[in-house]
Amino acid sequence: MKTHVIVFPGSNCDRDVAVAIQNIIGSSPEMVWHKDSTIKQSDLIVVPGGFSYGDYLRCGAMASTSPIMKSVIENANKGVPVMGICNGFQILIESGLLQGALIRNSSLSFICRDIIIKPTNTKTIFTNKSKISKMPIAHNEGNYFANSNQIKEIEDNDQIAFQYCDENGDINAHSNPNGSINNIAGVFNKSKNVLGMMPHPERAAESIHGCDDGRNIFESLLS
């Protein structure tokens, strides 16, 4: 499998996700600098977490105009799997590959702790091995928003990837860390080859992390 990880100024989860890809998928990813302009052939492109461009204007807004993003969009439109984690999710939204918006957490606080998510659609390349999983979130702007028409469209097309839930899998207000509409933690594009998610599976990918629930997302990509 040929894999790529995009690196922006301010990315800080690029190497973590590269280690997860190497250890779980068994592919050594090519690290692609944001000023490069083409990714010729790929089986997986990851837009990692961090604070690209210092979150200027809006999180992900500056990075979405980087030269490499044109190629990421072209590859996504050809069906190449593209995955955005945390700031990567914000970048994919700003680039128009995913619907909705990520706004300030309802608590106005940066949240860094473990949460539990439940896969909503397990029939995709990213989630076919997914189950209720614990992994960390670390963000200030992870509050997913879309207006009621957009939410209906996303629900009707099975585009919700993950929802925050409690240990029993119940999706309720108590298990919602940031105010996201319908507890949404991750979404797909219409054709399900683009995934954006706020939780960090790469930070819960080995026993040394204290939890390896995040592996199932990378393992799904292998099958």
């Binding site: 809006r58 105009t65 700003e94 706004i103 300030r104 928003f145 957009q150």
Partner: protein, 80 residues
């Protein structure tokens, strides 16, 4: 020309920062404040032959980068 661009949250988007600002204003004694919405103000200088053309370009900038139309509205004002 000088473009003055206001970017504000759409009415149906919650503004937790605005709510906190409203509470702080109340605690300072401004009891008659009911609702606060926080936005952005961007000022830019632009070379253009007409106000109309400058406005059109600024609208384009807002739609492509300056505003996120899922959550924000914008307005553009051009001065000579």
């Amino acid at each position: 020309m000088l473009a003055k661009i206001h970017i504000t949250l759409k009415k149906d988007v919650l503004d937790p920062q605005g709510s906190v600002i409203a509470n702080s204003l109340k605690s300072l004694g401004f009891d008659n404040v009911n609702d606060v919405r926080q936005g952005k103000f961007i000022e830019l200088k632009i070379n253009s032959n007409s106000k109309k053309e400058a406005e059109k370009q600024c609208n384009d900038m807002c739609e492509k980068l300056l505003a996120n139309l899922v959550i924000e509205d914008y307005s553009v004002e051009i001065e000579n």
